[in-house]
């Protein structure tokens, strides 16, 4: 341990955060304002997620941190080390073993279970932000369920591109009420939000907002009746390492001659499959 309080933040701050989280859980999809603290990392690196994680952690927790699905990228490694140091909690790369998972831009492929908490890092919590610049007006629109504008954007996509072109941060409707930005996860992950047994918390540090999806919440991706939502990914590709057909793939450029490969973005899922295949072969 260090001289820091458990999980870096002081108890009064964690209490403030927990109050915001409880309110967010009570009103699924509603953005609860909170007084975001300065964290020892720049905005955009997950200050919101880190604060939510700090407020949720107890000494018995096992923490997993992923960035774009990977456990070994800079953002994931630094946040994992941060909490290992200031909270002394056990860390893991295995989705199934973790009790708290902080994530940036992905939901793990391995299905989550009851009792797990998934914490999203959110850059822009307001789904209406680029449609309506005034914060006072977007809040009124949420309050009055005045959401026609969101579909105007989808309409424009179809008129222009022949399909809904939005591939990430695809807007969803929570329990038939609030429209929510699911953070920049690929739309491939949107179905995993729906009716998830895990508690899903969203923290936006710079924008000072927390919102939540309690377990088993109905989450629908917005669409048109004749242009239904599709959870798309790289078409016709399988993972070059583990051969998975059902996981979200990253395209990796391998040389200067146009060489490329598609691999699972979820490194834990890929490694687990490779290990299982090795065991089967042995």
């Amino acid at each position: 341990m260090t001289d820091y309080n458990f999980a870096y933040l002081d108890e009064a701050t964690k209490r403030m955060l927990r109050r915001a989280i409880l309110k967010a859980v009570a009103i699924p999809g509603y953005q609860v304002p909170f007084s975001s603290r300065e964290m020892p990392m720049p905005y955009g690196w997950g200050t919101g997620g880190v604060q939510v994680t700090a407020a949720c952690l107890v000494p018995e927790d096992t923490l997993k941190v992923i960035d774009q699905g990977a456990d070994d990228t800079t953002n994931a490694v630094s946040i994992r080390k941060f909490f290992a140091r200031v909270a002394g909690v056990e860390t893991t790369e295995a989705t199934a073993r973790a009790s708290v998972i902080q994530t940036r831009h992905r939901i793990p492929e391995t299905p989550l279970t009851e009792g797990q908490i998934l914490v999203f890092q959110v850059p822009i919590p307001e789904p209406l932000r680029f449609l309506e610049p005034r914060e006072t007006e977007t809040r009124t629109m949420h309050a009055l369920e005045d959401y026609g504008l969101m579909h105007v954007r989808l309409y424009e996509d179809i008129a222009k591109h022949g399909e809904i072109a939005r591939a990430y941060a695809y807007p969803v409707r929570v329990e038939g009420r609030y429209i929510m930005d699911p953070s920049p996860i690929p739309k491939f992950d949107n179905p995993k939000l729906d009716n998830s047994p895990a508690l899903q918390l969203f923290g936006a540090g710079r924008e000072c907002r927390i919102y939540a999806l309690p377990p088993y919440t109905r989450v629908e991706s917005l669409d048109f009746e004749d242009y239904p939502f599709t959870a798309s990914k790289a078409a016709g590709q399988v993972c070059a390492i583990c051969g998975a057909e059902d996981s979200y793939l990253d395209e990796v450029i391998t040389d200067d001659a146009g060489g490329r490969m598609f691999v699972c973005s979820d490194t834990d899922y890929c490694a687990t499959r490779v290990a299982a295949q090795a065991e089967d072969a042995a």
């Binding site: 009055l144 105007v152 309409y155 179809i158 008129a159 048109f224």
Partner: protein, 256 residues
């Protein structure tokens, strides 16, 4: 028959300054009411109070809603007012830029209100948008163009299509022909008159142009310094003005 809109002693003050005071009138279904007066006479203030853009200080604005009968729009909740604003009411701004989404295509602009009231079928929305572009004489091939690419007159017609697509019963118009040249004005008036008569709309038209009132309105209200100085049937008021100010107004029209 129930009046569509009943305004009772409506007043709006800007501090100590009177915006509009003690306005009373009744609008019947299918009737077009013109409000004329010079700049600063309180026409736009009155219209904004009627359309719920501004809260009046005193008075009642009773609108005959489709489902709940006559209701006072001043005291109803903001969400009810907004619902009215996208279903039963329409508001045509003087400057089409205020009434259109300039970075959304023409089709998206017309479909906006449909989607706001829950239309979720792309094909249907597009068909209706196309139909309405046709009705306001905009080439249907331009459905995916942005309003920026349209002329002033086309923008104004697009604004009208966007407002009428949900079949409103009451249209508020604030200087609908302002800023257009005379030949375009004439076409727009022709179009408006046709639409209003064919759809049986009621309308409140604010203008300083007596010709617009003559063509569109059944009845007219003349305002000066925030007060209504004269009201009556359009032809009666314009041909036989009683109040000194109305006489001045009518005699100031240039004869060509």
């Amino acid at each position: 028959m129930t009046p569509l809109l009943q305004v009772e002693s409506l007043s709006k003050f800007y501090g100590n300054h009177l915006g509009c005071g003690e306005v009373n009138f009744t609008l019947w279904p299918g009737e077009v009411m013109g409000i004329v007066g010079e700049s600063g006479s309180g026409k736009s203030t009155l219209l904004n109070c009627l359309a719920g853009h501004m809260a009046p200080d005193t008075g009642r604005v009773i609108f005959d809603t489709r489902t709940n009968g006559p209701r006072d729009t001043v005291t109803m909740t903001e969400s009810e007012r907004r619902w009215l604003a996208r279903t039963d009411w329409a508001f045509v701004h003087q400057n089409p830029r205020d009434g259109l989404r300039m970075n959304v295509s023409a089709g998206g602009n017309v479909g906006d209100r449909l989607m706001a009231v829950g239309a979720r079928h792309y094909g249907d929305i597009r068909r209706q948008a196309q139909d309405w572009l046709g009705r306001v004489e905009i080439d249907q091939a331009r459905i995916d163009d942005r309003p920026r690419a349209f002329s002033g007159g086309m923008q104004q017609r697009l604004q009208i299509a966007r407002n009428l697509v949900t079949g409103p019963r009451l249209v508020f118009m604030d200087e609908p022909t302002g800023g257009l040249d005379v030949s375009v004005q004439a076409r727009l008036l022709d179009l408006l008159r046709g639409l209003v008569r064919r759809l049986g709309l009621s309308a409140v038209v604010v203008t300083h142009d007596l010709a617009v009132v003559r063509l569109l309105a059944d009845r007219v209200m003349v305002m000066k310094d925030g007060r209504v100085v004269e009201q009556g049937l359009t032809d009666q008021v314009l041909d036989d003005p009683q109040h000194a100010y109305t006489q001045l107004l009518v005699s100031s029209v240039l004869q060509v």
